[in-house]
Amino acid sequence: MKKIVTKEKSIKLIMLLAASTSIFIVLLIFLFLAKEAAPFIFKPGLSELFTARWVPVSFQKESFGILPLVTGSLLVTIIATLIAVPIGVCGAIYISEVATSGERRFLKPFIELLAGIPSVVIGFFGLTVLAPLVKSAFGLQTGLNALTGALLLALMAIPTIVSISEDAIRSVPKSYKEGSLALGASRLETIWKVTTPAALPGIIAASMLGMGRVVGETMAVMMVTGNAAQITASPLESVRTMTATIAAEMGEVPFGSVHYRALFCVGIVLLLLTFTINIIAQRALKKYRDI
């Protein structure tokens, strides 16, 4: 008897450990980032971060203002989300509600294939195909700008959004659809007013995951956004994102230097940004579920 109790307890403990692993890891990452970034508070001071110039290497005066990087990331993320969410959700609706089974068998694997393409390869595509297109479409001097980056990121986020939204839409009970059709609603009205709202929690989760991928994506944006650290709201200007900055500069920065600390600060801000997106998503979900 006692043996069984001990066994149960130890199994429970193992499971608890497994379940809390991710919490530990997040905490550890955060602590590690904070430890490396902390000295920045004393020299040159936190206020340095909130300036508009990111010039980490200079013979005159170095400057570590991360605002251009934050706005660069935000600009690219917002545009990419605005492009990817409608396309992704409409695609998911089409695949789950409208497509014939033949079309579905063809479309789904292709979309999932798109998700598996390495971001460097997508970056190549952006550099050689998309950037020249954007350049000539808007008559610009260079196609390496926020819009090109956003288009490319949208391309990478769409499979995630389609795949997860489609699962959500497909799991809407058939009885809801029948109830709507039986009241004389057309198929389109049913999709729009019953099925999609019922799947909304899943669709929001899908969009957030897509957005998470966009915020965190590094390689492709580094290749096509032009990497000019400037504050702008224009999609046709070159920008530099937080991720691209860390990836591009981390390899050459002297260990323990102010620049090194500053990059860790960027990392923390990036982490906080993804937390914020998650929290907003949770709130949105909760509000929706209360109705």
Binding site: Y176, E178, G179, A182, A185
Partner: protein
């Protein structure tokens, strides 16, 4: 083939079905059904599971259209109009022929929005009109007093019996003439069942109701006419009292007396 054999032909025919065959892909589910369903009466469809009574019910508002590969043959006329004619507006048909399902299926929306859903898609926009329809429909289904203080709360928080009456109210909100009920009380407890049966009794005066039921006592209690289906065929159709006390066919007698089924 069984023809309706009412001696008193006072009841006007609402739905007239002649020689209906129905197929799910290659499987034939209904064989040569002919029946005249009287207006403003409750007609019960009884028979063992898989006998085709639900399939038959769903041909009457063309819900089977949503299942790929279905085929039919024969004629169904409602108010003398062929509902499978190419010119038929399915939306208008389903507005006229409401349906209540076996498992209550309120939308994950508020009580108000559930009832207002039908009127809204059929073009009612004014809030005051919608409120009026919602109150009238809920009142009609005996739910108004129970829910009037929480119209804007989720319909999914209602009890099972309340949800089913909500679904009836939702069907009534688009002002149908016919109500199809597919075992509306089979998932409910006895008290909620009584309420649904009382409601059917009340609605009878204004609507033509067809109810599929497994429960013979229920058929006897609520319906004026009963049709007995077996293996996709209509075995017998007539006034409920006669069908239960003096069935014409041996098969019917065996079923209603519980000797099989």
């Amino acid at each position: 083939m069984v023809k309706m054999t009412t001696e008193n032909n006072k009841a006007k025919t609402k739905i007239s079905v002649t020689n209906l065959d129905f197929y799910y892909s290659a499987v034939q589910a209904l064989f040569d059904i002919s029946i005249d369903v009287p207006a403003k009466q409750v007609t019960a469809l009884i028979g063992p599971s898989g006998c085709g009574k639900s399939t038959f019910l769903r041909t009457l508002n063309r819900m089977n259209d949503t299942i790929p590969g279905t085929k039919y043959d024969g004629k169904i006329r409602i108010d003398d109009k062929d509902i499978y004619a190419p010119s038929t507006d399915v939306v208008a048909l389903r507005k006229k022929v409401g349906m209540v399902f076996q498992k209550s299926n309120p939308f994950p929306k508020s009580i108000f929005d559930n009832i207002a859903y039908g009127p809204r898609i059929h073009g009612t926009k004014k809030q005051s009109e919608l409120s009026e329809i919602v109150e009238k429909s809920l009142d009609r289904s005996g739910l108004w007093n129970e829910v009037k203080d929480r119209l804007h709360k989720s319909a999914l928080k209602l009890s099972g019996g309340q949800q089913q009456r909500l679904c009836i109210a939702r069907a009534l909100a688009v002002d149908p003439e016919i109500l199809l009920m597919d075992e509306p009380a089979s998932a409910l407890d006895p008290q909620a069942t009584v309420k649904i049966e009382e409601l059917i009794e009340e609605l009878r005066a204004d609507y033509t109701i067809i109810i599929v039921t497994h429960n013979m006592q229920q058929a006897a209690r609520v319906s004026g006419f009963t049709a007995f289906f077996y293996e996709g065929k209509l075995v017998e159709f007539g006034e409920t009292e006669k069908l239960f006390t003096k069935p014409q066919k041996k098969h019917t007698e065996d079923y209603v007396t519980g000797r099989f089924g």
